[in-house]
Subunit: 466 residues, 2 copies
């Protein structure tokens, strides 16, 4: 499975000893070859192939390895991607990729749970390292795949699953390994961030901007994975495992999307010095962890607020590192390809240097993975933004504040615009620190008050962010 194809420089070096001699002899006197099979030839597959064809010489110089594309499986083998595929087999038989004796490493960029899951599992069983960009597969079936990779003693790389080319996976697994991680948070879905940015800048409602994003290719025809927060939750699942040494467990993430975010709320947030962001947060809280994806208000002056459009940013707080931040395009053909090939580089360099099992797949040795209790999101405390639509009758404020007081909620600020006894006017409140349970319970009673004309809107305020 691993062949030497070329010898640069002088002197024959025996097969067995070459890795050991590398250091002694000046390094890189041999160039080896890694034969690559690719599953999926859509956006990311095309980018990966384009990168390997474009920068193959540079990669060889940096790694001493030739990354050779052998076979690509796609449902549309005849499609024209504007690439010179001479010498590369394009097939519609994905099993020929994972079973082929002429394939050393499998790149899975087809997406979805099946058949991707079965193909990746088979590749690993066949002893082939796998590089995948498939966050859904990892978040929902990662444990089985990781166990299989461990049994076979091969790598399972997934840098491309989170934040495009931005190396947050490697940062957590390697660069910050000396730290006890306190929290990881960030903007993990470019589609949502683009929509929220456009809503704020143009003052238009969600549906209008979503349609525009779909036309521009920034949102899928079926946008639910993105706008309902699921994609960000998949990514958060992965980051939380790496940060806290817990098994992957997508089911425990609290998820709330951005469909219900109104341009009215965005305008209010802006006026009050905030922006609304879909924020993914994994945080230690005592002996528990908080795991949530939801729209929140963040202060204008925070760095999180400056992350706009399709960009992603991840903030990692360690006990020694302090907060470090990683920023870039979170998706797209070329950035994602950069991350896929980074994992191929890792695998190639491991092979060439003789490394086996260098870095645990989830950053900690498997026997030390510990499932941590996840705090019920309703028990998390924080400040909240509440928007009510009320008919402005005498005594309405007294009614509202009486309910809030009964639930132990104190109010930091109340804003009201316009006055009308017939039609409703917005009334915006910011609470002091309270739990989500308290505020939700209070809102059930407030919603039933006669002057309140619409279901109350509730958005958490995340303070203390970098």
């Amino acid at each position: 499975m691993w062949r030497r194809i070329e010898r640069v420089g002088s002197g024959a070096i025996g097969r067995g000893g070459w890795a050991g001699r590398l250091g002694k002899k000046g390094g890189g006197s041999l160039v080896e070859e890694l034969r690559i099979g690719v599953l999926g030839f859509g956006t990311v597959g095309t980018g990966t192939v384009r990168l390997l064809l474009t920068n193959g010489e540079l990669l060889a110089q940096r790694t001493g390895v030739r990354f050779r594309l052998v076979r690509i499986a796609t449902l549309d083998p005849q499609g024209d991607r504007g690439l010179d595929l001479a010498g590369i087999e394009v097939t519609d038989d994905a099993w020929k990729v994972v079973d082929g004796d002429d394939i050393d490493v499998v790149v899975e960029v087809m997406g979805g749970l099946e058949p991707a899951g079965s193909l990746v599992l088979r590749a690993l069983r066949n002893g082939k390292p796998v590089v995948t960009a498939n966050k859904a597969l990892l978040a929902q079936r990662g444990e089985g795949l990781i166990a299989e990779a461990l049994r076979s003693g091969v790598e399972l790389g997934f840098e491309a699953a989170v934040a495009g080319a931005v190396p947050v996976i490697k940062a957590l697994k390697e660069s910050l390994a000396a730290n006890r991680i306190q929290q990881v948070y960030g903007i993990l879905n470019g589609t949502c961030n683009y929509i929220l940015t456009e809503m704020r800048e143009k003052g238009l409602p969600f549906a209008t901007i979503l349609g525009e994003a779909q036309r521009l290719g920034f949102a899928e025809a079926d946008p639910s994975f993105d706008v309902d927060g699921i994609d960000a939750a998949h990514k958060l699942t992965i980051l939380a495992s790496l940060a806290f040494g817990t098994p992957l467990d997508f089911e425990r993430v609290t998820v709330e999307g951005i469909r219900h975010i109104s341009d009215v709320d965005i305008a209010w947030a802006t006026e009050m010095g905030y922006r609304i962001k879909l924020l993914a947060v994994a945080r230690r809280s005592g002996d528990e962890i908080e795991l949530g994806v939801r729209p929140v208000l963040v202060a204008d002056a925070s760095m999180v607020a400056t992350v706009e459009g399709v960009f992603n940013a991840v903030f990692i707080e360690g006990d020694f590192s302090g907060t470090t931040m990683y920023y870039g395009r979170g998706a797209g053909e070329r950035p994602t390809a950069s991350a896929v090939v980074a994992d191929l580089v890792e695998i190639g360099r491991n092979r060439r240097s003789g490394a086996r099992g260098r870095v645990p797949t989830l950053s900690i040795l498997p026997q030390h993975l510990v499932p941590l209790p996840v705090r019920d999101s309703r028990e998390q405390s924080g400040e909240y933004y509440i928007r009510l639509e009320v008919r402005d009758r005498p005594g309405v404020l007294a009614q509202l504040t009486e309910v809030l007081a009964r639930f132990g909620i104190s109010i930091d600020a109340i804003h009201q615009k316009g006055r009308s006894q017939e039609s409703a006017v917005p009334l915006v409140m910011v609470t002091h620190e309270t739990t989500e349970r308290q505020v939700r319970d209070a809102l059930v009673q407030i919603a039933a008050l006669d002057p309140v004309s619409e279901p109350p809107r509730l958005i958490r305020i995340e303070s203390g962010l970098a």
Copy 2:
């Protein structure tokens, strides 16, 4: 030099085969030990020791390696650092660290060229990997040390030399290895960034803020390494080598510090929508590279401008990744210790997994390092900010613009405040794109004009930044 100390789980595994078995047997069935010697017990040394004592158990779980402190060399062995040093030898004999048979890895955090350089060289000759935070040593003598590390087949780690815990070294060597890097730029010196931030926010002159920074411990008693740009140039030397595959060559970096930046210029920049930052830039420009550290004007709306105080940020533009950004505290006991121990983790994991020569020290195989021609900074083109102090006499503008026209420089904007025929008033101009040579030559003639009362100030405007 490399001993097994502990066996967890069942079954004896022979010495030779354990790395190979790691993958097959589930990983981490053995815990090995890395015996560490530290050179220097100042801020970073104290942080490194504190980290290893605090997070040793976590490190063992993440790596399967015990990082054991054996010996620390310092000129002040009796000093109290508030650490429990039981079982650790503290000595004033640094050679006992680099020559000791009971030391597997040497951490050099003493700083300076000598004796650090001789000690690091000796450690490498003795076959001990070295981790250093010493950017001056790397930038000025790195080539010899790298050659020695290669001959000995051991690692030379220097993540801590640039941007504290922020993993820009690993990003360039590994995560972005698939990219042809177009440019690397950023804010690499926290002292200068703190001073410039404070000057802007408080409207006070350089000397006042420097004194304040020295009292607060953000600047050294002798601040010249920082404020004259030398420290940032050392770091840029390292980043440029990694980015472009060129040998380390500090001498070729154009360096200009911030001593001459006046609060008047900062106020003007602010009024015009800019901030002044000490920016380090390594950029491909045709077949040459530009290498410079200097104060520049950056647009308020750029991300670079949002990096304030003691923070560092590095922006890396690759042909596939696009621009990714890395941000955090650039110095200090704990962040720098995080980076030092990240390199120890790398070395420990390499040992445990059997890897030799996994990643080339400068990110590319040594035989492919190519010295690239460095463009004379005076031939770089850009826009410039010029401030003159002129006595406002009739015809003065005509005189100035005549000189500029003669040198082919066109002006985008002219600002003037106040009028006085006796005392001088500031006159600020922003040029269109021109070369630094043209504008400097013109300023020599302008400085000689009678109404011009002070040497002209010239600051480059960096546009097109992320």
